[in-house]
Symmetry: D2
Subunit: 307 residues, 4 copies
């Protein structure tokens, strides 16, 4: 695996059948859809992948199957975040056996913990990890917003990068500055809307949920950002902002974008759109709205090939 | 199991050796300590029991061993709360096989969910549970403060009671009023400081962390509350408030009372005081303070027998 | 003024005409309604009194007029909390000139400040106050939940008591214990639902918003609590809990109880129910519901005299 | 006043003497420092200007004096945000009389209010305003994060722009997109670190606290952003990020950047650095650190002229 990790690394949706088994055909189609779209890596079992909602058997099966299908065409990152250290290590071990490339670690998410407790946790966890890891800031789910000091300590303990889904760009820009002398340390935005800002300002990539739907849109925006082509950035960003104000904007649950992405993939015929509890797929009415919204994107032409 | 559940139901600490195996001798001593103290039930794998931090193997072993040792002398409640529905059901099934008496269910704790999503979750989960269940409000860890409407829906779906660890006594008192016509529905306080308020105002019991240390203190306070002996309540409550201002007041982590309880049990020679990540046991300095504090309680005489 | 302050001290609604002038006739009727109801003090310009929403001219006029009408029959407490120290002192000076009895001080409410900053603020403010003061914990509006240490420092700086509207009864009970050796220091609950708990456990009174509507209900509950008449407490508390689940439960604004109290006083013919921006009085539909709810209380008989 | 408002509009510090009177000499020096630095407008009585902490007499004097000194060389915006509508209108009237150019309105900041209550408030306030106004999103102080819908309603009620200090760039980018067809509606970033992102992505300017210290740095960054000179942006942004990790990073109060800016201006001999309660100026140790940090910027040369 070449460091730093760069580019578009979709937090891949986990295709599930109605009986909560893996939709293996859908998984294959989804992975090919992503790779054809030009993405640079795949992130398994993250928030968009409903990782913490799945049984461990399904988590392991997903890792094995995804690694088999991808077959090293792009790096695979596996989220091992868990309330239990043992369970995190169990998934880490399975990821290693399946030939995944890296692990991703957010704070254990039951107890509200402090920066110091997170650092102590990493000191126990990191030496036991069988693969390189990225540290993952996801305060809306874990209740802890990692400080720069904690991220620096993670780096000392071996972290090869940070995925920041905090939405706090003030700190994110300080993180980029903080690690600029370590060009192999990846700074990855967890929120797709900040993709171009991240690249223009010195970061390396984005774990973009929307890239599940429109991988090429995000890859093109990544490339335009690397090329500093401001006009192209402007045009492509408009579509992403439109995704936020349409597709991601149904209802008022905090997980509406996750629901929308899976629903869109179902409508596009890529994979089954069932979701693991406590999430559930959209009903007919929202499904119809998602279909309408998707249609609006088709006419813009950028990723017609995606559809 | 007689309904409603009443009395003192300690959220039992999970005794762990340094290698994170169960301290089986400690477990036996702890259970006998509690039962000799007169407690009315035992709650396994809750927040004080570090449930979400343990491996599933340890969780199952704890259930089996605790059920074997208790041998139906008091009811055993098992917390099955999990980010994954499948894992919750796995523990529920094991609890049933081990002859536990009831289950406890808080919201799945990774995604921030709404009241409606929690209700939907219960509608999927409840019919699959092999034992009666209590609904559990624990917003500081789960990010959702259950509404009265959600608790009412849980009751319709079969809940035999509610354990409220929200600290929100305004809502708690409304809950007591709401369910007063259902005398078999247990209203259980999750915060020990509210034990007498709960009983005097019509509730049924408390899941009192401190009862791990001083079971008789809490049992006596429960009995004094049932007897409406205000003078005895006043005296016993002072000790509990003193526990908050001494034992539970070291450092500034949100889990300081959990650490203190386990540390005290270690000092008292009842069980090993190792903790599962992301918590960790107190160092020498805090340990010494806990010892001093414990000494102050001895001289008050109420629960000298506990020590 | 006799210390400690005890009993029922309603946070008096500020009667306003449609043109936002004081409803002086209403003010007179409201004060007589409260005093006839047996209340032990009146708290002006608090959260229920919409203090921070009023012009300074109206605040001063209210103080003057209320002091004139009350004419020392009960002590008058004046909330001087303000984002500006100078404005707080201006109201304090006016309160002194009007012969009010005490002041009430919460944290200045624009900047989010720390415990240390609040202590520093009190060290500047307290020596300049022309009247005794109570410290006021109101985190939902001020963004700071006062620590016990801060309250102790306030006492050293001259505070004669604390009014706790935090809803955090765990800390409140520790506060009662903390100050039990200072019998002249008043511990006043800011949430009416905790009135009996407060008195039974050693506190002194309550700033009960609902006492604007039903002063005698709260006075009777206070007296029953002092007399430790548990059966009477039980009966009276039911009405207060019913107020929460009916009158205070319309809509989903955080200020719904404040709106309901003023609306009820309007319906009862006591005073005009206009409100200062950003609050506004209930429309016809909610007004009708409040009327219905009020009717349900009449039939319980306890405070028919109030209506 | 030309619309849209664009460029660097410092939230000007309010220079105060130890006796809390205005430092008029300092005010004059500060305004000349800003105008010489090339700023495009001045924002009075904002969060950095400690507006809500000042007496109304000082607020009015500051407006009068600043308008006199600026003498229409740049537009002056006056923050009228207040917990009281009347007091907001009083300052608005004074601003009009003093020949200020526009007003700025955030939610009234005592009661926690809803989007609907804010909209209702604007419907009452807006028609009474004697000058154009911008809507101001400042959730950390006001407890309400304005929705896009609320901002749209403010525009319908006459708002000429929005100043967004929420730190929530996801919404901010949607706001830019939402109003792109209204080129006279100003989209102003409230956080200086987002200046270049704002301009590159279609916004108009920044209310940059740090421009009090280094106006030219921010003006140059604004100009580089308008010119899409990415290399110059990169260099200048580094200094701003460095301000965050040095000057703005002392202690752990939420107001540390406000303290630092005033302290720096004191060290630079521009104005007195006393602060209104509840803030207070840094002590000798932090002051010395600020001096050291300032020295580090001198050597970078960009704004040596500022020092």
């Amino acid at each position: 695996m070449k460091l730093p990790l760069t580019g578009i690394i979709p937090p891949m949706v986990t295709p599930l059948l109605e009986n909560m088994e893996l939709d293996l055909d859908g998984l294959e189609r989804l992975i090919e859809h992503l790779i054809e779209g030009g993405i640079h890596g795949i992130f398994l079992l993250g928030t968009n992948g409903e990782g913490p909602s799945l049984s461990y058997a399904i988590r392991k099966q997903l890792i094995s199957e995804a690694c088999r299908i991808v077959n090293k065409r792009v790096p695979i990152l596996v989220n091992i975040t868990d309330s239990s250290l043992d369970s995190a290590l169990e998934i880490a071990t399975h990821a290693k056996l399946s030939n995944a490339d890296a692990l991703v670690v957010a704070p254990p998410y039951y107890f509200p913990i402090s920066q110091q407790e997170m650092t102590d946790y990493l000191e126990v966890l990191a030496p036991q990890l069988p693969l390189p890891f990225l540290i993952y800031d996801m305060p809306s789910c874990t209740k802890l917003h990692l400080s720069i000091k904690t991220i620096k300590r993670a780096k000392e303990l071996g972290a090869i990068g940070v995925k920041d889904s905090s939405g706090d760009m003030t700190t994110f820009y300080q993180i980029i500055e903080e690690f600029k002398d370590f060009p192999e340390f990846s700074i990855i935005a967890g929120a797709e809307i900040f993709l171009s800002d991240t690249i223009l300002n010195g970061g390396h990539g984005a774990v973009a949920g929307g890239a599940n739907i429109f991988p090429r849109l995000f890859v093109e925006l990544y490339e335009a950002s690397c090329a500093k082509d401001l006009e192209k950035i402007r045009l492509l960003r408009q579509s992403i902002i439109k995704m936020h104000s349409t597709l991601y904007n149904l209802g008022n649950t905090s997980t509406k974008s996750i629901r929308a992405i899976k629903c869109a993939l179902g409508i596009m015929g890529i994979c089954s759109d069932h979701m693991a509890q406590p999430l559930s797929r959209y009903g007919a009415q929202n499904r119809e709205k998602i279909r309408e919204y998707l249609g609006q994107f088709e006419y813009e032409g950028y990723y017609k090939t995606s559809l």
